[in-house]
């Protein structure tokens, strides 16, 4: 299987503190991989490194065989990696449709160079896909949390990515909405996308992932099929440790 994304020995420091220590793994074409781990494990930082928002101290990110380490966010996006943010950040004063248009206009150009649909039509299709058709004229700041998350997914898809990084898209959602999110992720794979998830609460993991990568305190502890990783003693103790600190606090 073709490797879409390879993470090689990534280390990230803020001052003297190491947020990520020598993390390596790869994601293959058509896979859904979840990054799991307790708070402070470095999951979102890893997303930031891949998307160019944060610079790695050392290590390499390889996308489709090309090193993209240190690229600015817009270049990473145009190469074909799109992401959402843990705390959804739609453009607050733009409507849902305009949010998506930004992605269409500035993201990766269409592969065949020609455009079959008008921008507005394409935006409407994407909003349909995430179920926001009715809200297309609502400003970003007036959408509910779940709607903002879905808008972020539509906006990310608008940049025509081949790899999609989804950060906690199911956190804090109702069971019904979590189901919908799972359906959405699976349907995106059907469209030929490779997906990397951050899933702290393990909402989606069991349902959709092919593989899990578990991080704890900036280090990879284990990777493999969901059932193996979830029962791995180190993963259990990492999550259990978190629960204990939470109870103490």
């Amino acid at each position: 299987m073709k490797r879409v994304l390879e993470i090689h020995h990534i280390t990230v420091r803020f001052g003297a503190r190491a947020i990520l220590k020598d993390v390596s793994f790869s994601v293959h074409e058509g896979e859904i991989v979840s990054l799991i781990g307790p708070n402070g494990a470095g999951k979102t930082t890893l997303f930031n490194v891949i998307s160019g928002v944060v610079q790695a101290f050392s290590g390499d990110v390889i996308f489709l065989g090309r090193p993209i380490t240190g690229w600015p966010p817009y270049k990473v996006c145009r190469a074909g990696i799109a992401r959402t943010f843990q705390i959804a950040r739609p453009f607050p004063d733009m409507t849902a449709e305009e949010n998506v248009l930004i992605g269409l206009w500035f993201g990766k150009s269409p592969a065949d160079g020609s455009r079959l649909l008008s921008d507005e039509r394409e935006a409407a299709d994407l909003l349909d896909l995430v179920g926001l058709h009715e809200k297309r004229h609502t400003p970003g700041k007036e959408l509910t949390l779940s709607e903002q998350r879905r808008l972020e997914v539509a906006r990310a898809l608008a940049t025509r990515p081949s790899l999609l990084l989804l950060d906690e898209i199911a956190a804090g959602l109702s069971p019904h909405a979590v189901n919908q999110a799972a359906q959405l992720v699976l349907s995106l794979r059907e469209r030929g996308m490779t997906i990397l998830l951050v899933d702290h609460f393990l909402n989606l993991t069991a349902r959709v992932s092919d593989r899990l990568v578990a991080l704890d305190q900036g280090e990879k502890i284990v990777e493999g099929p969901p059932e193996d990783v979830l029962h791995h003693p180190e993963v259990l103790s990492a999550y259990l440790g978190e629960r204990e600190t939470a109870e103490e606090a």
Binding site: F14, I19, G40, T44, T45, N48
Partner: protein, 289 residues
């Protein structure tokens, strides 16, 4: 020569401390950047000048009235700034920039664009180290500035009000939870700031020419020292002010008096680039990881 330089730097450094003290206190407690700070100092200087000229008051007689009037102005300013919305820092900056323009034009209206100087004797009161001379202005500047700084220091560290102010500077939310009336503290900060500005003005009028557009330099100096020292640290404020005074006097000595302004501007730029969030007391939420 060196003794004279040292006397100049020390007197200027104490004056800068006084200049920065009010700004720093207001910024620390309310997070408002008062870009009209310098203009208000100049305004107070004009007041003293006017009183001396029109009614023949002596220098020290003008001080209480200047302090009182400027306290009134600052309290009024606080009432207006209270209504400013988010983002407060930027909006207060723009708002006080507007107030500075108003103050400039008010001064232009009453005192015209001519340069004025509060007359003071250049004669040496005494001469340490042989040829160096300490003038009356040196003594006034040093005496009043150090007295005001000491008073604020004692107030902050040894009174209940001072402790409440310091708590508000250090951690506003915690202070609120501890039962401190934060909005009242803001009013108090503006009032004390007004007194300090009122005191600094007449001294400013003795040290430099008064001109309606001459306030920006004092504002820049206050900002530079505040950013250097962080808010609420009076000893660092004093140190920063003396370093700045030494650098400026040095530049004036080497390059000529007028290049002095460049020093504070350059230092401000470098400080802001070095700690772009340094203004916020380091209480920013952790970077998004």
């Amino acid at each position: 020569m060196w003794a004279q330089f040292l006397i100049g730097v020390l007197s200027l450094g104490f004056f800068y401390t006084l200049t920065a003290l009010g700004f720093s206190l207001i910024f620390g407690v309310t997070h408002a950047f008062n870009l009209a700070h310098g203009e208000l100092i100049v305004l107070s200087g004009y007041l003293a000048y006017g009183l001396m000229k029109a009614y023949g008051w002596t220098f020290w007689m003008t001080l209480p009235l200047c302090m009182l009037l400027l306290t009134g102005v600052l309290v009024a300013m606080h009432q207006v700034l209270k209504k400013v919305g988010e983002p407060f820092e930027l909006n207060s900056l723009v708002m006080t920039f507007g107030m500075a323009l108003i103050a400039q034009n008010v001064m232009l209206f009453f005192f015209s664009a001519d340069y004025r100087l509060i007359p003071s004797s250049e004669a040496a009161v005494f001469s340490p180290f042989g040829r160096a001379s300490v003038t009356e202005t040196h003594l006034w500047t040093f005496g009043l500035s150090s007295a005001a700084t000491a008073a604020v220091f004692l107030m902050l560290h040894h009174t209940f009000l001072g402790k409440a102010l310091r708590a508000t500077i250090q951690e506003r939310e915690a202070a609120r939870l501890a039962g401190i009336h934060v909005d009242r503290m803001k009013g108090v900060a503006f009032a004390i700031g007004g007194m300090l500005i009122g005191l600094a003005g007449p001294l400013f009028g003795r040290l430099a020419y008064l001109h309606p557009a001459g306030g920006l330099e004092a504002t820049l100096i206050a900002i530079v020292i505040t950013i250097f020292a962080g808010v609420g640290h009076i000893r660092s404020l004093l140190l920063g002010a003396c370093i700045l005074a030494a650098l400026e006097s040095g530049a004036a000595l080497v390059l000529g008096t007028n290049w002095r302004e460049l020093v504070s501007a350059l230092i401000l730029i470098v400080l802001l680039l070095w700690k772009p969030h340094g203004l916020l007391v380091g209480k920013r939420s952790a970077p998004e990881l």
